[in-house]
Amino acid sequence: MKVAAEIVEVSLTVNGERVKRSVPARLNLADFLRNELELTGTHVGCEHGVCGACTVRVDGEIVRSCLMFAAQADGCTVDTIEGLSDSREIEELQSAFVLTNALQCGFCTPGVLMAAQALLRDEPNPSRERIREYLSGNYCRCTGYQAIVDAIEAVAKARAARKGR
């Protein structure tokens, strides 16, 4: 793409499915997922990278989908909360969130789950302090975070116990 264009062709893999679209350059990845692909589990909160509600995985790493343009995801692999949920990758986290009341309105929850899964993948046994630090970029206005930390810690401990058996 040596010439600048306002409309960009993109081809990417979203939750394992190949998608091709023609998009305005200014369309961010969050709006692309929500409006073009109707994957509305990715939430749009602050639109400047502060709240974490739009967190998705691009090529395996969590990013803010409001701070990336759909055009930049051309050729990438994107995983959203729908993908992680359908594949049952975050099944334990989802159950723990329900059990500990780690969500009320649920607006932040998809982003929190994306971040929590990334944390447990890289650090299977984080301290409560580390969980709080890692999730410091995900705002929740309902729970006061205590129950969210409880849920993530419970999953980490359950996984460690299974491994030790």
Partner: protein
Amino acid sequence: MKAPAFAYARPASIAEALALLEKHQDDARVLAGGQSLVPMLNFRVAAPKVLVDVNRIAALAGIKIAKNHVRIGALTRHVELERSADIARHLPLIASAMPHIAHPAIRNRGTFGGGCALGDPAAELPACALALGATFVVAGKRGERRIAAQDFFRGLYATALKTGELLVAAEFPLPKPGYASAFGELARRHGDYAMVGVAAHGSTQGKKFSDMRVVFFGVGDRPTRAAQFERALDGQPAAAKTIDAALTELDADLQPRADLHGSAATKLHLAKVLAGRVLKQMEGVS
């Protein structure tokens, strides 16, 4: 809000990027990690007609150890600096700064070069570059030029980069034996921009301070070396009492302005408290 309309280009090489920047001049803006630029677009603080996305230019990425320096490519992501054994070993100041920069999802995307080229006065990496005496490598249509960190940061969101130029890398001299560093910042919430921060580097060999470079950020329009404070440490015992005695020099070195975080007096006070804490953590200080 959403970004205003722009045209998007994704060059595959530095030469292609320079050609685009040359063609579009001041209408163009380089898009690296986008973790500051995209919010600025969404807030309509910036409205470039053309975004030149350098994310696929392989030559801009990566950390290389040379004989006398560490070269950090402009497109090196924060997460790579955070996880790099080479950075931890050779540039521990940068390694210790990384956890303070925003949050994991931001660090996965944000780049070293973007963080420097923006010229944000509260950013961590420009302060580290200044403390470590880095040299920025900049490409333009007439070839490459090198700019010392002390000449690179020119003011609030202002750098020595000219229209049509692209930041390629920075070269950090390998620290000499006996040199140590320390980093700290105060922020209301983890990952927020610093109210005040300090990056310090220098020698504590022979239990004496020498060649100290103490850089403050978040207290001026650019990262600022504390010249009088550094002089007060020079040749003195590397000890807590030396540091405590030298802190009053910061009254002359720093002229913070009041901001949302507090009054000028509060910021100066915090700078002194933090400088004391950070320098006492330096290896070799008793």
